[in-house]
């Protein structure tokens, strides 16, 4: 190809021709925002239509029952937060003060696992450990001198929430501690600060700054927790709003009650998020795996013993349910399960939904990231416009609106259209895709922005645009982060039991849904086997995501 196709003629419509690529990127971003808006807006429309039809009748649902559920939702979240955050402070401090602790790297890696584990798998692990027929049941029966009834209700919910959030909070606190400059640790060692003094002057100030954000994040996660409460909360005495919404739609078929519950949950979550943003908390709960720096810490033998006890206790608490999942899973008739058609078709469905959802998530996220960058370049030094801010933080809004609430809104709306359960695939794929977007955007955006900063003008001056640009320039830079985002989104979607709990049926079953059904029909061994399989699948995907995210080309 020669240069003959470069006519140096004057265009009549300079603005049309000037930056076609940029405008296309912004247009794609608008489209992605519109899609997300439609998903959330549709849910709200469903709620609004129902509210109008119900009229004042809906308020009849405001009763003592609802008040009790709302109170329990907040109460369990508060207790879970306290039980997660306070031990996490001790644990993070112990880990920070023993940078050479044996197996420290392994412990930190293990503490990242609950983040990747589907809630339903963890719940099963806890039941396998502390349930009526759990591994510890005989000891507990002797201890309490009565037949161990199994861990259900508030205590079950708390154990599960602490299992998820203690490691998360520990990692976040440890992150805060690692940000203390090495010189300050040296200074503390030189001044001979003991445990108490260095906690007061070094560690507590660093952790106190992070405390509101971490506590807020944990509280939010517990307020919107669905799967754990569904499986471990027993009866009407230990039910949260999300589970009550699910029960109102699936069992009582009472849209009026579901509407009121959803509105209360929305108000609750919104209030928490508002308070959180005042505290400057990050809702995505990102923790880098901290590496132990060379640090001189002075400790007495007594402190060493105490810290060792704390670390080992934390380790056992987190590792216990995981080990129980594996032990119980291996006891199941895995060979039969592997050939059972229900399991096979649920696996296929799950993988299909997860792939589609991950792909949709990636496309939407890319569109938003590219549009944000294009808008940023266009405005120069001016403050960001509304559209740019929407592409920037619009996706994070999804974290505020619980997926189950979106699902409930659509469930109520689609009821008027036809068979609700026929929409299961579309609902599961889209809601899960949008749910994973904040994480995907965080994976992609730095790489995209860096590539753009480096190559934008070069592409313009050489005329590399459109698909050519994507193929030659952007994709090579984005391949890794895109794979990370895909794996992460797939894992999240694979393990999710939220929307599918509402929309699932005998025709459309995913693995978590099948798991729920097997538990419901007391086929515990089957459930344990499927849980092991599902857990390994999700961990493998998360492992891939993590590896791809870290390696450099």
């Amino acid at each position: 190809m020669a240069l003959g196709d470069e006519p140096l003629t004057v265009s009549r419509a300079p603005d049309m021709e000037r930056r076609p690529l940029m405008d296309r990127r912004v247009a794609a971003g608008r489209l992605a925002l519109a899609a997300v808006g439609l998903l959330i807006g549709g849910a709200f429309a469903g709620l609004a239509v129902e509210a109008l039809q119900q009229g004042t009748g809906a308020f009849a649902a405001f009763d003592a029952y609802l008040l009790r559920i709302a109170r329990f939702t907040l109460w369990q979240a508060l207790l879970s937060t306290l039980l997660s955050v306070v031990p996490a402070i001790l644990l993070a401090r112990a880990l920070a003060r023993h940078p050479a602790f044996m197996g420290r790297a392994f412990i930190l890696r293990l503490f990242a696992v609950p983040l990747a584990l589907p809630a339903i798998v963890a719940a099963l692990g806890i039941l396998a450990l502390l349930g009526r027929a759990g591994i510890f049941a005989p000891f507990l029966s002797v201890l309490f001198n009565e037949h161990w009834p199994g861990i259900y209700g508030l205590s079950g919910i708390l154990v599960a929430h602490v299992f998820f959030n203690l490691p998360l909070a520990t990692r976040l606190f440890l992150n805060a501690l690692e940000s203390v400059p090495a010189d300050q640790w040296r200074l503390a060692a030189q001044l001979g600060m003991g445990a108490r003094a260095s906690f007061r002057f070094l560690e507590w100030p660093a952790m106190r700054a992070a405390l509101p954000g971490i506590a807020g994040l944990v509280f939010m996660l517990c307020v919107t927790s669905f799967t754990i409460v569904l499986l471990l909360g027993g009866g009407p005495r230990a039910t949260t709003l999300e589970v009550a919404i699910y029960q109102a739609l699936r069992f009582d078929f009472d849209p009026a009650r579901a509407l009121v519950l959803t509105l209360v949950q929305l108000a609750l979550a919104g209030g928490v998020v508002l308070a959180l943003s005042r505290l400057g908390a990050s809702l995505s709960g990102d923790a880098n795996l901290p590496v132990a720096p060379r640090r001189i810490v002075w400790h007495t033998p007594l402190e060493t013993v105490l810290n060792t006890v704390i670390i080992v206790a934390g380790l056992l608490f987190v590792a216990g349910p995981m080990a129980a999942t594996v032990i119980a899973g291996l006891k199941a008739d895995l060979a039969r399960l592997a050939t059972e058609s229900a399991v096979l078709s649920a696996t296929t469905t799950s993988l299909l939904f997860a792939s589609l959802s991950a792909l949709l998530c990636l496309v939407l996220s890319l569109a938003l990231v590219a549009a944000r960058r294009a808008l940023e370049m266009k405005r120069g030094a001016l403050p960001a416009g509304l559209l740019e801010r929407a592409t920037d933080s619009g996706a994070a809004m999804v974290l505020i609106i619980p997926p189950l609430v979106i699902g409930a809104g659509w469930f109520i709306l689609l009821r008027h259209v036809g068979d609700v359960f026929a929409f299961a695939p579309a609902m599961v794929v889209t809601v899960n895709a949008v749910m994973a977007m904040p994480f995907a955007i965080r994976a992609i955006r730095p790489a995209y922005d860096a590539a753009s900063a480096r190559h934008e003008r070069l592409c313009l001056s050489l005329g590399i645009t459109g698909w050519t640009r994507l193929r030659l320039v952007d994709w090579p830079a984005l391949r890794r982060p895109a794979a990370t985002a895909l794996a992460f989104a797939a894992a999240l979607s694979l393990g999710d039991l939220g929307v599918i709990a509402l929309f699932g049926s005998d025709q459309v079953q995913t693995l978590p849904y099948l798991l729920l059904q097997r538990m419901g029909s007391y086929r515990t061994a089957d459930a344990a086997g499927i849980a092991l399989f599902l857990g390994l699948l999700c961990l493998a995907l998360m492992f891939v995501a993590d590896r791809l995210g870290k390696e450099k080309t």
Partner: protein
């Protein structure tokens, strides 16, 4: 465009060109550059040197006025349709593409290369002293070699105007002189009009016949480089260069 008619420079005229960054103050450029001239664009940081080059290259859109290259109005053309090549201070290469591919983008932005194109690429690389480095990735090259690859791409694009925005600012003095000599050789061959933004009057002295001095978004002065260096062209330039002249000339003499 054949090889024969590419080997020329094009005159550049900026007519009442007005431009402002969003939220910035207005710049106004009026300027005529004769074909095949080599022009140094000097001025303090933030004076508008880079903006001037960006406007000619088409990265920025003027609010009013015209940009004429070779007698034709190019104001409405996208950057790659203008008869212009540009070399930046850095990031001239795509890090994941080989040297030959990076040069080849100058022939086909989709990298659809013919045998003839490949021969031209090898030739350009040989003339910029990069023979045998076709398959290397940019990270395996030194800073000077990377800029040579960019110049090889300029060679095969054969555009009548070459814009350079502080192209050698990150190179050491000896390497700089080498690169300036290379550009002089390329200019002797293709006769393109060269505009080079620089901070160093020695670059200008070594390479450029003409100099323009940009200050506060305007062309404050223009003339021969010799006149500028002698201190006869512009008071503003003398103030800008002031202390630096002492250092440069007391050490080199």
């Amino acid at each position: 465009m054949t090889k024969a008619d590419a080997a020329h420079g094009a005159g550049i005229t900026l007519e009442k060109l007005r431009f402002a960054y969003p939220g910035g103050s207005e710049m106004a450029f009026d300027l005529t550059i004769s074909p095949s001239d080599i022009v140094a664009v000097m001025g303090p940081s933030g004076s508008g040197k880079s903006t001037l080059l960006s406007l000619i290259a088409g990265f920025e859109t003027p609010t009013s006025g015209r940009i004429m290259i070779d007698g034709k109005d190019v104001s409405g053309l996208t950057p790659h349709r203008r008869p212009v090549s540009m070399v930046f201070q850095e990031n001239n290469l795509f890090a994941h593409l080989t040297v030959a591919q990076n040069v080849g983008l100058g022939r086909s932005p989709a990298l659809k290369l013919t045998e003839e194109d490949r021969a031209a690429i090898s030739d350009a690389l040989a003339r910029t002293g990069l023979a045998g480095k076709e398959d290397r990735l940019p990270r395996a090259l030194s800073g000077g070699e990377r800029q040579r690859v960019a110049l090889a791409r300029v060679l095969i694009r054969k555009r009548p105007v070459l814009l350079m925005d502080e192209p050698f600012a990150s190179l050491g003095p000896a390497l700089r002189d080498e690169m300036l000599d290379l550009i002089r050789a390329l200019h002797a061959e293709q006769q393109m009009t060269v505009l080079m933004a620089t901070h160093d009057p020695r670059d200008a002295e070594r390479l450029c016949r003409t100099m323009i001095f940009v200050e506060e978004g305007q062309v404050a002065a223009s003339g021969t480089t010799a006149a500028f260096i002698a201190g006869d062209a512009s008071e503003a330039f003398n103030r800008y260069i002031g202390a630096r002249r002492e250092i440069n000339y007391s050490t080199t003499n």
